[in-house]
């Protein structure tokens, strides 16, 4: 049974449009022009318990709006949303105690106090028993390698360290459903990797259902089997990441380092040349024939090194968007 069920979700905003210049300002004093913007346009999907799903889309695609509707922050214009058997916007206590939303660009921590004080506040708000609270803080801090920072004033922490504290604050009550909105934004590659490993481990250890939005395809590739791609508030793809690759990029890239110069005509019929700057050669070949063609290349060409790779996920996503 689905833990999250969304049917024809629509969210519209009314946006004030000002005409340019001084006259436009004068006109706006008397009559203002408002335009309705449809941020989410009839989304429908279901998510099973324990799934870790990537929610992908360009800026303004409707990702964050959808997460806000799912967590009960926004009132949908129309459609039906069901999370853990609750209508999110009712914001029942029982519902709120089972979900968490972490937004990479905003924080809930007290700026002038150590993060542990915010955790104590959340302990009271979520009515977490003492024993469970201590164990959870210990486990999460250990998992995130953040024990040293618990007593440090939040304003003195780096962005990455703050993000770790945000995650602990959001996960203290062991939510069954976790919405992560750009959790790795602005972080360096090492910290991004740490957070990815944490999210993966959290999902595995606590069987939590996680819906993740990110601009970094690395996050999605590393974490999510299933992806939902949206643009202009509509779903473009909903399925396994492997199916997405197969559907939109049914080829593999063979990267070769040559020992001697070759004639590009020797490669005719083997694949499409993507790049050839001696000694480097990159060929795009049909996915099903990749190993057969590699064998042929090894026989025909003076090769020092060869690697076979899947196409870049970012290129695939870009391709999906360009076709939408």
């Amino acid at each position: 049974m689905s833990i999250i069920s969304v049917k024809n979700l629509v969210k519209e905003y009314s946006v004030y449009k000002k005409e340019p210049g001084f006259l436009g300002s004068l006109h706006s004093l008397i009559a203002r022009k408002y335009e309705t913007v449809r941020a989410v346009d009839g989304l429908s999907f279901d998510i099973e318990e324990g799934e870790l799903i990537g929610f992908i889309g360009p800026n303004g695609a409707g990702k964050t709006t959808t997460l806000k509707c799912l967590s009960g922050l926004l009132y949908p214009t129309s459609g039906k949303v069901d999370v853990l058997g609750f209508t999110p916007f009712d914001r029942k206590t029982k519902f709120l105690k089972q979900i968490a939303l972490v937004m990479g660009q905003k924080n809930q921590l007290w700026w002038d106090l150590p993060a542990i004080e915010t955790f104590s506040l959340n302990k009271e708000i979520y009515e977490i028993p003492d024993k469970q609270y201590k164990e959870t803080v210990y486990n999460l801090a250990e998992l995130l390698d953040a024990k040293e920072q618990l007593q440090v004033q939040v304003r003195k922490l780096s962005l990455g360290q703050r993000m770790k504290m945000e995650l602990i604050a959001a996960l203290l009550h062991n939510p069954r459903v976790l919405f992560l909105d750009e959790p790795t934004i602005g972080l360096d590659v090492v910290m991004q990797q740490n957070l990815r490993e944490f999210v993966k481990e959290y999902n595995r250890r606590y069987k939590a259902t996680i819906l993740l939005t990110s601009h970094y395809m690395g996050d999605v590739e590393a974490l999510c089997k299933r992806v939902i791609i949206i643009n202009h508030g509509k779903i473009l793809f909903d399925g396994l990441l492997s199916d997405l690759i197969r559907k939109h990029a049914p080829y593999k890239l063979i990267s070769i380092v040559l020992t001697n110069m070759i004639n590009p005509k020797d490669l005719e019929g083997l694949g499409e040349i993507k790049k050839f700057t001696y000694p480097e050669l990159v060929l795009s070949v049909p996915m099903n024939n990749a190993s057969e063609i590699t064998a042929k290349l090894l026989k025909r060409l003076p090769i020092e090194d060869v690697t076979i790779e899947n196409p870049d996920i970012e290129d695939i996503i870009r391709d999906v968007f360009s076709k939408s």
């Binding site: 709120l96 937004m103 708000i125």
Partner: protein
């Protein structure tokens, strides 16, 4: 106990902002001090002068305990910057949490008030007068103070909710400050106003937040009058509870969580 623990936790964050809190308090003292100095130069009897001086001193303490500025915080930070999202995600009522966050500020400002009034009473050799009051009166005054704090907080929160519909509610806040200043008794006791203005003021919520409780402490009213004032406060609290619920229910449908 849960509420007490949350209150104590929020107190810690207020202690970190004690400097700012002191400055806000001192700014709010300027007007009562000017008015007090003005009255000290007036040609009035020493009894009246003692009552008026006591009124302004009580206004400094009472005003700092009763009057919050939550509306700006709610409008600018919670609604417009989207910080309300943090509150909405918590399984705890928004009003209660804001209240528990505001109480430490009121307690801190009230203690500043007590220190400053004690200091100036000593410097000006002023004896604070509460008139001749019975125990029943003090009990009623205590209840009136609690109602005044509740009413003021409800009023300010409702004012802040206007931001659900407007992008800039600052003008409305300034206007409400002006009404509070004139009709709430900040300039002078309402009994000194022209009777028409005073009569209009009595039908508005402003004097029930500041003027009546402060004037009651200063001994302006009889027990019967205190009962009527207290009932008036309850009526206004009921009106603002209804308004709060309505604004909250409809306002949330407008909330976009911008910046979140």
């Amino acid at each position: 106990m849960r509420y007490v623990r949350i209150f104590l936790l929020t107190f810690q964050s207020v202690f970190e902002e004690r400097g700012r809190s002191l400055v806000w308090f001192l700014l709010s003292c300027i007007n009562p001090f000017i008015m007090m100095l003005f009255w000290r130069g007036a040609n009035i009897s020493s009894t009246t002068l003692s009552m008026i001086t006591s009124y302004y001193f009580f206004l400094i303490i009472g005003g700092s305990i009763i009057m919050s500025h939550s509306e700006e915080n709610i409008a600018l930070i919670d609604i417009q910057e989207g910080r309300l999202a943090n509150y909405l995600l918590k399984p705890f009522p928004y009003y209660s949490l804001k209240w528990l966050e505001e109480l430490p500020y009121r307690a801190l400002q009230g203690s500043f008030g007590l220190i400053v009034v004690a200091l100036f009473s000593f410097l000006f050799q002023v004896k604070l007068s509460v008139g001749s009051q019975s125990v029943v009166n003090f009990l009623l005054i205590f209840l009136m103070l609690i109602s005044a704090v509740t009413l003021a907080q409800l009023f300010k929160v409702c004012l802040g909710f206007i931001s659900f519909w407007t992008t800039d509610a600052y003008g409305i806040f300034q206007l409400s400050e002006m009404f509070m200043f004139i009709l709430g008794g900040y300039i002078a006791p309402l009994s000194f106003y022209p009777s028409v203005v005073a009569s209009i003021a009595y039908f508005l919520p402003f004097p029930y937040m500041i003027y009546f409780p402060i004037a009651s402490i200063a001994g302006f009213y009889t027990t019967q009058q205190l009962v009527f004032i207290f009932l008036g406060q309850l009526v206004w609290i009921s009106i603002f509870v209804f308004l709060y619920k309505s604004l909250w229910k409809n306002g949330l449908k407008q909330f976009t969580g911008v910046g979140q």
